[in-house]
């Protein structure tokens, strides 16, 4: 879907992106992670040509982005950033409708889509559509920003640390919303963050960028089990990487079907981290597991600690 082909970018004499090649598949939630200055934001911004590349090419569906009309290209790509950048003189509904309006959707179509997005992003309290951005909380503003990025059903959405400035609870709830929306819509999302936990929680695949190069690309588990270099291992957290793994793996992977246990059940699609938290809270070393509200098996502490084969 998106292909970086030997891309380089120089800012003020230093190579921010250094001969980088990468493919992002259709429908993937792909996370670019790395420390500040690693070039991840710059790389993201080459996709919608906010940053022109110095060498190499960025292709979408095989077509070099520089051959596309720049406004048409951008209208087909959603964009959300940490500082949100909402238009202060426009209402929530008008902000969300920005791209549909640019694309010339009719009023009814636009209204229906705005309603739908307000619901999807849990912005459906009464009167929300007609409020102005300065009357919203940070989390609500960010939800509007995400809704605006998704409005015209773009095939690709770019997000640059969109949840970076939010408190942990709000961030988690937004991550959850995003994951659900992405799964349901099949949108390709390229997501930039410096937070490893966020990268592993969200990403179908993750690329770790160091000094303008891809240090490793793969699934979160691949990072944890087979770090490509000592630097990657350091980044993933060394010994503590095993803790991260708990957040990535699901109860489904270790459930013992048919067994039973006492205590409050955990959901089969919960993370092992959630299961461990429930065990700690309840003081049990085993808990029942439920699927669709029905107990289907049990999970044991030993299974969480054991290295996956």
């Amino acid at each position: 879907m998106i292909e970086f082909d030997h891309v380089s970018k120089v800012f003020g004499g230093s190579k921010v992106i250094d001969d980088l090649s990468l493919r992002i598949g259709e429908g993937e939630l792909f996370v670019l992670v790395g420390p500040s200055g690693s070039g991840k934001s710059t790389l993201l911004r080459t996709i919608n040509r906010l940053v022109p590349v110095d060498a190499g090419a960025v292709r979408i569906a095989g077509e070099d982005v520089v051959t596309r009309d720049i406004e048409a290209l951008r209208r087909g790509i959603g964009y959300a950033i940490q500082s949100v950048g909402l238009f202060p003189h426009r209402t929530v509904a008008q902000n969300i409708a920005t791209v549909p309006r640019l694309l010339g959707w009719n009023a009814e179509e636009t209204r229906v889509r705005v309603e739908e997005l307000l619901g999807l992003l849990r912005l459906d309290e009464p009167g929300m559509a007609d409020r102005y951005p300065h009357t919203l909380s940070g989390g609500q503003q960010q939800r509007v920003g995400v809704a605006r990025a998704l409005a015209a059903r773009p095939a690709i959405v770019l997000m640059d640390e969109p949840f970076g400035a939010l408190d942990p609870l709000t961030r988690e709830s937004l991550q959850h919303s995003l994951k659900t929306i992405q799964r349901d819509s099949g949108t390709t999302i390229v997501f930039v963050t410096h937070d490893m936990d966020e990268a592993f929680r969200l990403g179908d695949r993750v690329a770790l960028l160091l000094d303008g190069k891809v240090a490793q690309v793969g699934t979160p588990l691949a990072f944890l089990h087979a770090p490509a270099s000592p630097r990657v291992r350091e980044f993933v957290g060394g010994e503590r990487g095993r803790l991260r793994e708990l957040a990535v793996r699901l109860v489904r992977d270790v459930v013992r079907l048919g067994e039973t246990s006492s205590g409050h059940a955990v959901d089969i699609d919960a993370s092992l981290q959630d299961a461990l938290a429930a065990m700690l809270a309840q003081g049990h070393d085993a808990l029942p597991v439920c699927e669709d509200g029905r107990v289907v098996g049990a999970v044991r502490l030993g299974d969480l600690v054991a290295r996956p084969s």
């Binding site: 919608n48 048409a72 087909g76 950033i81 238009f87 003189h89 300065h134």
Partner: protein, 376 residues
């Protein structure tokens, strides 16, 4: 009830007003329009009581002092000329027809002081309230004028004697200002946009305009006579349009040159008023340059530009007075002719008209600004 701190402005202004009421001449009567007048008895001293009240209010700090002072100031602004007109009528009753009754220094000081007091009292109040207060003063003065309250005053008599040429001059003045304003906006706003986009080039534009601003207005008017005379002599089409070394054309060019700096500056400031992220988001969502300008930069930067246009309008009204010296006409004619003839009433007539026009236009822009800045 002393709930507020002392108000230094109220105390100072009250004291100035009180001194003017007690010691300065409120009304002078002269045998004709060219001789200077002698002090005449009047009711000016009565205003001393109001000023005493202002001082006390400023000193002891009553609850709701600001609105109270505003009301006193509005009342004084209206009552002072009405009382002066009343006293003038009495003074002229048994005088020859050529006699003139002029408000004296005491009147002018108190009127100015009342205006300053109103400005101070309105500070911090909502823009709408401020506009309403000034409109109330204006409306009351117009009603009083309608009723003939100011007819006996020398300035009004001067107007009655010259109203045909005054009305002409007023229209000419308005036209000078209007054309200059539109031209400055049409040239300056795109120039400001360009200067804002091309940072380095922008420095040159602003530098050049700043330099022009330092040329004395009279000198600039005079300097333009030469080139314009040459143009008119060599391009007959221009000459047939009334274009020449003197007259409206060079005057308007000079006025536009002065107006460009504020227009360009405030256009740039207005564009800067839009946060970078908002502008980048607009671009990233696929707006082209013109859509960003029309849908984001203009609506967000408009109040800043408007406050610049307010300065331009008021500045041009004042500067246009000098344009009369190169034959462009306007209200400045009365000022300079009056000085030449030693007819102080005529100078005053021109000056008051210019000030009134400037205040009126300023008020208009304040109203527009209040509308533009109304938070949704």
């Amino acid at each position: 009830m002393t709930t507020q701190r002392r108000s230094l402005p109220a105390i100072v202004l009250g004291t100035a007003g009180l001194c003017a009421a007690l010691f300065a001449v409120f009304l002078r009567v002269a045998p004709n329009r060219l001789l200077s007048g002698q002090p005449h008895e009047s009711h000016g001293v009565v205003f001393g009581l109001a000023w005493l009240g202002v001082i006390l209010a400023g000193w002891f700090g009553l609850r709701g002092r600001a609105p109270l002072l505003a009301v006193v100031a509005v009342a004084a602004l209206v009552a002072l000329p009405v009382v002066a007109g009343f006293d003038a009528r009495a003074a002229l009753e048994h005088a020859p027809a050529s006699a003139r009754a002029q408000p004296g220094a005491g009147f002018w000081i108190m009127w100015m002081t009342a205006a300053l007091l109103l400005l101070d009292a309105l500070r911090g109040m909502r823009a709408l309230v401020q506009v309403i207060a000034w409109v109330a003063v204006l409306a009351a003065l117009i009603v009083a004028a309608w009723q003939g309250a100011f007819e006996p005053l020398a300035v009004v008599r001067e107007y009655r004697a010259q109203h045909a040429s005054f009305d002409d001059a007023f229209l000419v003045h308005l036209r000078l200002v209007g054309v200059t304003f539109m031209a400055a906006l049409l040239i300056g706003a795109p120039m400001g946009w360009w200067a804002w986009r091309a940072r380095r080039g922008g420095g040159i534009v602003v530098g050049t305009l700043s330099f022009l601003q330092t040329v004395p207005s009279l000198a600039l008017f005079a300097l333009l006579i030469g080139p314009f005379a040459w143009l008119a002599a060599h391009i007959p089409a221009l000459a047939s349009l009334g274009f020449g070394g003197t007259g409206a054309a060079p005057a308007i060019v000079a006025l536009v040159l002065y107006a460009l700096l504020p227009v360009v500056r405030y256009t740039m400031a207005g564009l800067d008023a839009v946060p970078f992220d908002t502008r980048e988001a607009a671009q990233a969502l696929g707006m082209n340059r013109w859509q960003v300008l029309a849908q984001v930069q203009l609506p967000l930067g408009w109040p800043v530009l408007l406050s610049g246009l307010r300065i331009v309008a008021v500045q041009t009204i004042g500067l246009a007075a000098v344009a009369t010296l190169i034959g462009a006409g306007g209200l400045g004619r009365f000022v300079f002719l009056g000085i030449g003839q030693g007819a102080i009433d005529m100078v005053l007539l021109g000056t008051l008209a210019i000030i009134a026009l400037a205040l009126l236009v300023d008020l208009l822009f304040q109203g527009l600004l209040a509308l533009a800045e109304r938070r949704p």
